[in-house]
């Protein structure tokens, strides 16, 4: 078939040295695995931090071995909050679905030999890696990790050591890390967009792209537009801290009885810059998961995606609206009621494309020959968590309700379900689904199912009661609420959540074991173990260096031709010509 479209990529030679092959590789598949392993490392750190927090919430007076002074101080608790949020949002939820699976599968699914800019791709990964080193380094510098939350709210984050331990070197490293991450991500996003636009195989029209590709494409557009703004915010914050400016620092601040030498700045400005990035960021985390869920639900229902075009358009609509709603994070910060009203209505309008997606996921399942394989279970879990977590978003979108709930655990429960755990379920689904393609072996199905049930039930056990803690007035970010009567009575619920968190955390060891055990001992997968239709399944597992062994496919049909009436086979790969497909009748 034709390879003329890929001039400039004609010959791809596998590099011979270890370093060029596995460390400084320009192969998108190796880079994808590097991103994935980075995220895997990060998620382990993030989970440990969250378990420490859960432990501290129920045993605030316990002596801990690694904590200096034995008992955790409120500042140390806030450092855990900050680092957990930062590591999870940036280095797991952004890195794994987009950097990991997007990098690996976007070029293969559109029939390309690599990304448009392989060297830039390598640069993106290594800058992300540097950013990760910087954030981890914040743990060990004098003063320790920053305490201003993953949102780095000013003035706390802008003034240096005077505002607390961790606000010295630790906070500076946090900003450096985030700025580097922005740079890497916007270069990566640019690469994804150029690849999707330019390198699609002949016949791969936009509406023949798998919904996973749509997810990564829209996510990349969000990244391109959002990370540049946070970069600007990061530069200004760094100037405030190191050049003595006052962009985010108002006059008359008194900290520890010292009048601070700042004047004229606005903490609200930081919130605007941060959330203009921050809200699209939550869609950067979830949109690839939506793509994976659609893809997997269709494959394991043996049915085409219900309303494919509506699904693609809904992704675009969510991405577009995502840029107009940042103000709903700032209802409590003080805002004109008119702006609050506008942000509120726009926020609730995101419910429309979200409902379209949910409706179509159910439509895809309806009447299908459902196979409950592990990727399918996690995709179903994704839909369930997205709905459970998303519904509370409609309550929080209303300023009057949000004013009461914003500083409580209700919000924590909401965003953990809808963007945290749901996105993680997308990642798990993708891992179980594509592991055979990436490593040539199947993961253990029984272990995967045990992992699923523990994680699914566990996630609900942690985060459902959390809503009620929030409604009862349990304030988030407090290191120890046992001293107050109204919050103290909630301790048994906290205890339950903590036990659930430890059990769910331990269940992730099953996944880790399954992952590394299957690398060596899993059953050989073959080219197409799931009988799927998209282009990654027509090539070897793992794919050769140029993805298709020089035989680049052309595309003749849509991505989800399952159970087409009149055919003997219940799936028709995208690259089959009408003549080849006719032989299957």
């Amino acid at each position: 078939m034709s390879s003329h479209a890929h001039t400039g990529h004609a010959v791809v030679v596998e590099p011979s040295g270890f370093i060029r092959k596995y460390i400084f590789s320009i192969d998108h598949k190796v880079i994808g695995i590097q991103y994935f392993l980075l995220a895997l490392t990060a998620v382990c750190v993030g989970i440990v931090l969250s378990l420490l927090m859960r432990f501290h919430l129920v045993y605030p007076g316990a002596h801990l071995p690694l904590v200096s002074g034995g008992i955790m101080t409120p500042e140390q608790y806030l450092a855990l909050v900050t680092m957990h949020g930062t590591i999870m949002v940036f280095f797991v939820l952004t890195t794994a679905p987009q950097g990991g699976f997007g990098n690996y599968f976007l070029p293969i699914q559109i029939g390309a030999p690599d990304m448009a800019f392989p060297r830039l791709n390598m640069l993106s990964f290594w800058v992300t890696f540097l950013a990760f080193v910087a954030i981890i380094a914040a743990f060990v510098v004098p003063g320790g990790a920053p305490i201003s939350g993953w949102t780095g709210y000013t003035p706390l984050s802008g003034m240096g050591e005077v505002t607390g331990p961790g606000e010295g070197m630790g906070q500076t490293l946090w900003i450096v890390s985030i700025s580097l991450f922005c740079l890497a991500s916007l270069l990566g996003a640019l690469n994804f967009i150029a690849t999707t636009i330019d390198l699609r195989a002949p016949g791969m029209t936009l509406f023949r792209m798998p919904l996973t590709v749509w997810g990564w494409f829209v996510t990349a557009i969000l990244g391109l537009l959002a990370f540049g703004v946070l970069l600007a915010g990061g530069i200004l914050l760094l100037l405030d801290r190191s050049a003595g400016t006052s962009f985010f620092l108002p006059a008359g601040l008194v900290v520890n009885d010292q009048l601070q030498p700042h004047s004229g700045g606005s903490p609200l400005l930081w919130q605007h810059l941060f959330w203009f990035f921050g809200h699209p960021e939550v869609y950067i985390a979830i949109l690839p998961g939506m793509g994976v869920a659609s893809h997997v639900l269709s494959t394991f229902s043996r049915k085409p995606v219900f309303g494919y075009r509506a699904m693609a358009m809904a992704l675009c609509a969510i991405g577009f609206l995502g840029f107009m709603v940042w103000g709903h994070h700032m209802f409590l910060s003080g805002m004109s009621p008119y702006s609050g009203f506008a942000f509120s209505v726009l926020t609730m309008s995101i419910g429309v494309p979200s409902a379209i997606k949910t409706f179509n996921w159910i439509g895809t399942l309806w009447g299908g020959k459902i196979q409950f394989k592990s990727p399918m279970l996690f995709a179903l879990g994704f839909v369930s968590l997205f709905v459970s977590g998303g519904l509370s978003g409609l309550f929080l979108a209303q300023p009057a309700v949000d004013n009461m709930l914003h500083a409580t655990y209700y919000v924590v429960a909401h965003f953990h379900l809808v963007m945290g755990v749901a996105a993680i379920f997308g990642i798990f689904s993708a891992t179980y689904f594509w592991f055979p393609k990436m490593f040539g072996r199947m993961m253990s199905e029984p272990l995967a199912k045990i992992h699923f049930w523990f994680t699914f039930v566990g996630a609900y056990c942690i985060f459902m009661p959390m809503h009620f803690v929030g409604l009862a007035g349990g304030i988030r970010r407090y290191a120890d609420a046992t001293g107050t009567t109204y919050a103290g009575v909630l301790q048994p619920v906290h205890m339950f959540m903590t036990y659930a968190a430890f059990i769910t955390g331990a269940a992730q060891l099953i996944f880790l074991f399954n992952f590394f055990w299957s690398l060596k001992h899993g059953a050989i997968a073959g080219k197409n173990p799931w009988n799927a239709t998209t282009l990654e399944w027509i090539t070897d597992s793992p794919p050769p260096i140029d993805n298709f062994g020089g035989d680049y496919p052309s595309v003749y049909r849509g991505p989800y031709e399952f159970s087409v009436p009149g055919y003997r086979q219940d799936f028709i790969p995208q690259n089959l010509t009408p003549e080849q497909a006719a032989l299957l009748k």
């Binding site: 029939g111 699609r200 029209t205 023949r208 537009l225 540049g228 703004v229 962009f247 606005s266």
Partner: protein, 210 residues
């Protein structure tokens, strides 16, 4: 054009196998970078507008002579560099290597001149006591926004000078094509365009009214 015809064109252009815009990926990549970078500068300029509007007594210290004259001259230098860049790209597509390199070198010289004049301006301001954290006119953020905006822009010009030097060297050796020159030109014009926002917003809006 009927809707069906329009859809036909879109489908054929976007049906895969080739770039829908009929340009190489490098150029598309540079355009995308420019989109992202312009958002970074927009965020900075909007932040500047935000703090300036919040401050009732924002200083307007620049005299027509020498500050505005100097910055106008800098603007002129930067615009001239864009002209030589255009001529360089034009020569590159005509295949005239020598002329291209000469125009690129002229662009680089204008770029360096801009940075040097800008640097003398910074030094003068330092001498008058204007720093990122303070100045004689009482609103410290004046210096913060001034040095922040012009500093980031200067960084872009400096990177552009290095970028053009690599392109000029490679094009002279026959390593790069006219497209490479054109893509570097996109970056250079963008950096120019950013100045066309900074010059009025930072300098002209701060002319001493007296």
């Amino acid at each position: 054009m009927s809707e069906a015809e329009f859809e036909g064109i879109v489908e054929s252009r976007w049906s895969g196998g080739a770039s829908p815009f009929a340009i190489n990926s490098k150029k598309l990549g540079m355009w995308l970078f420019i989109v992202s970078d312009s958002l970074t500068f927009s965020a900075l300029l909007i932040s500047y507008a935000y703090v300036r509007l919040e401050t009732p007594n924002w200083p307007r210290p620049f005299e027509i002579w020498p500050a505005i004259a100097k910055s106008s001259f800098m603007t002129f230098v930067l615009l001239s560099s864009s002209l030589t860049m255009v001529l360089g790209v034009n020569a590159a597509f005509k295949g005239d290597r020598k002329k291209t390199v000469r125009y690129l070198i002229a662009t680089i010289i204008f770029g360096i001149a801009f940075v040097l004049i800008h640097a003398t301006e910074w030094v003068t301001l330092f001498g008058e006591g204007v720093t990122p954290w303070g100045n004689p006119w009482g609103v410290p953020l004046f210096g913060g926004t001034f040095f922040g905006l012009t500093g980031l822009h200067m960084l872009h010009v400096t990177i552009g000078v290095a970028y053009l030097a690599i392109i000029a060297w490679g094009f002279g050796k026959g390593k790069y094509t006219a497209e490479h020159v054109e893509v570097s030109g996109l970056y250079w014009h963008f950096v120019d365009l950013v100045w066309m926002f900074i010059f009025p917003m930072v300098y002209l809006l701060s002319v001493n009214p007296k």
